[in-house]
Symmetry: none
Subunit: 216 residues, 4 copies
Amino acid sequence: MASPPENRPRGAGRPRSAAADRAILSATRSALVELGWSALTMSAVASRAQVARTTLYRRWPGKSELVVDAVADLFDERLELPDRGSLAADIEWVVLRFAALLEQPETKTGLMAVLAEATRDEALRARIRSAIVGRQKALVLRGRARAQDRGELAPDPPGDAGARQAARTVDLIFDVVAGSVIHRALVSSEPVDEDWARDFAALVTGGLTGAGPRTG
Amino acid sequence: MASPPENRPRGAGRPRSAAADRAILSATRSALVELGWSALTMSAVASRAQVARTTLYRRWPGKSELVVDAVADLFDERLELPDRGSLAADIEWVVLRFAALLEQPETKTGLMAVLAEATRDEALRARIRSAIVGRQKALVLRGRARAQDRGELAPDPPGDAGARQAARTVDLIFDVVAGSVIHRALVSSEPVDEDWARDFAALVTGGLTGAGPRTG
Amino acid sequence: MASPPENRPRGAGRPRSAAADRAILSATRSALVELGWSALTMSAVASRAQVARTTLYRRWPGKSELVVDAVADLFDERLELPDRGSLAADIEWVVLRFAALLEQPETKTGLMAVLAEATRDEALRARIRSAIVGRQKALVLRGRARAQDRGELAPDPPGDAGARQAARTVDLIFDVVAGSVIHRALVSSEPVDEDWARDFAALVTGGLTGAGPRTG
Amino acid sequence: MASPPENRPRGAGRPRSAAADRAILSATRSALVELGWSALTMSAVASRAQVARTTLYRRWPGKSELVVDAVADLFDERLELPDRGSLAADIEWVVLRFAALLEQPETKTGLMAVLAEATRDEALRARIRSAIVGRQKALVLRGRARAQDRGELAPDPPGDAGARQAARTVDLIFDVVAGSVIHRALVSSEPVDEDWARDFAALVTGGLTGAGPRTG
DNA sequence: CCCTAAGCGAGACGGTACGTCCCGTCTTGCG
DNA sequence: CGCAAGACGGGACGTACCGTCTCGCTTAGGG
């Protein structure tokens, strides 16, 4: 759940309203869709959330951080990976699932804007990774393990070297899957439909089962 | 060369200074690096370019358009693709080449910012595609043709269906290559080094030469 | 002693801390000196008095009232009028005494600020008159009586008309003395020293003993 | 005429609107009357003057300075001193004239507030003296000269000592007249009517013609 | 001796004004 | 007409206080 960091002493003083938190994040998302990043103002969010502007600043340092948290919620939804029978089918499913997320205007606008803002701000980048991107990586891990169980992929070699190699592969797959879908959807402005998903899954599966990355 | 559209009547009055154009675009790039997108102001550009703010507005409608033009220049550099002997080696070379471009702070910041801005603006998105992204696609075409000459990839089937199939594959490869590199560099914040490029190239080559996208 | 009105039911519950009252008024005075009226905030007073902001509001309705009470204390000091032997000497003494009070930064700032605030608020003006200004008038009465005893001034004529006439004169003297000193010290920004006091006393004594106000 | 200092380079750029200046000062005065010092905001002034808030800040650093200039205008009115035939009558006239000024709510509120603010700010105090208070002193000089011509007052002794003595007397009278009237009107909250003016004039004339300040 | 009503600290809350910065437009005067 | 300079109306920013409101914890009487 996305919300401002709660490392406050607690005990003294009136507690913060949890309802306000929810209202603010929700208002941020809807305002983001209607106004876009640059026209999104703290005032707009505040008035939509029926909350004073100061309350926003009490919880978040600025627009970027607020939007990151607001957008992160959207990526919190079900991350289950139903077993579709084969590695290729699993990949297709993930791709379409992710694409559906990027279809939603709020996700699209928010994600890109926040990424752009993060270009110059490593702290923000880290926040994005932990709040949004990182948790998607679990999917890759699960799908890979399942493919190994099925015998589609070779099991990890034992030992430290094997673990390192596995991690490298997971990172690679993750960048390829997420990056390709984002690029297709947001840069090329072409639909990520079933056809594309099938082509993409075939490409990746072929690469993985055929040669696979060579050991460094 | 990026510059403001020149569909002006021409003839009467003092002509616009070409030197100003150059100074402005260059100032925009340097300011973008130092300040980042959001802190980049027209005033800042104007004072760096030793130019009045009015002069900027006479040539570009706003910040986004100015930055797109300024950044586009950077992608105009050499797009040659030396023959490295194999498909995998060619891909590696392209990846590292592109990564080097993204290392430059101006490219990184500018590209992401402009993409984010474009999320809500199809006209801007088109401008980006034609000015920046599109011309990269030529590389993919050339590399693929070369691999077909070498026999690494099957030649395109004849007829319309074959051409469509070829176009689909080119688009796919392009999204995969560009997207993966961008994601690795700008989201995961991990280096796009020779090791990663080799792994990536192996993955893609395996997918292409092994199964390849099935015909829809 | 200045303090918040105590018309509270009394009996049940924890009684208010008298120490807090003292700390608050003292903190108000010191803060007033260091910060001036406009920069003086309830928060500043609270933190100096080691007291919660709420405690202030429980006792005073706002800044003006708090400052009036705090400043009034300063005018509570010794109001004795030693017999200096002549009307002129008595006036000199009063003038220098008052000037010394206005030298103190807390009195100066506080008095003017409170007067300004009172310009639009008759209730506050009344409070000031009764808490601060009014009690100074006793000095004039005493000095005048003494001068009449000495024979420097004519005794009050008997009857109502005489009393009214006496009251008018006292009011006049009071405004002249207080007003002149305040103007010299706070507007002209010139020192109220012994020379000035002597000149002033000479002027007033001359006016009083010579012609004196004619009967209306 | 009160207005922001005009020590700007001049020549380049669009000149400031003089109409705006007038509108702002006038709006300030009316807002001051209706709202009082503390409720007077820059926004209120701006909207009354049909001017952007930034325009205010371009010309004055803050509220205090703006109000000083606005109030100063009111003291710019006719400062003539008609010859009323005697020193006492002249003084009466000046007193009533000044009192009439202080009756106007704008003058009253503005003057006191500005004086209070100036208590802690010598620069502001100087500005007040030069813009408001100082020019009133000319009246005293003229009245005194006229009384000397009439023979009511002794002529100034020649030489430096005489000039110094004259200056001291003028300063004294000025503080006494202005201070007494202000105190009567704004602190005692009593009317400065013809009766009071006559009493006051009698007191001062008596002091001047009778003993007068002794030589230090 | 405990009960209870108030005091008290802390701090969140809805507001409002501040003074600054930038936007995009407009008016100047000089080439 | 281009151009530099800079005023203009407008709007968002982030900060500081305001006066009110909840909290949980003292802390005195009064039963």
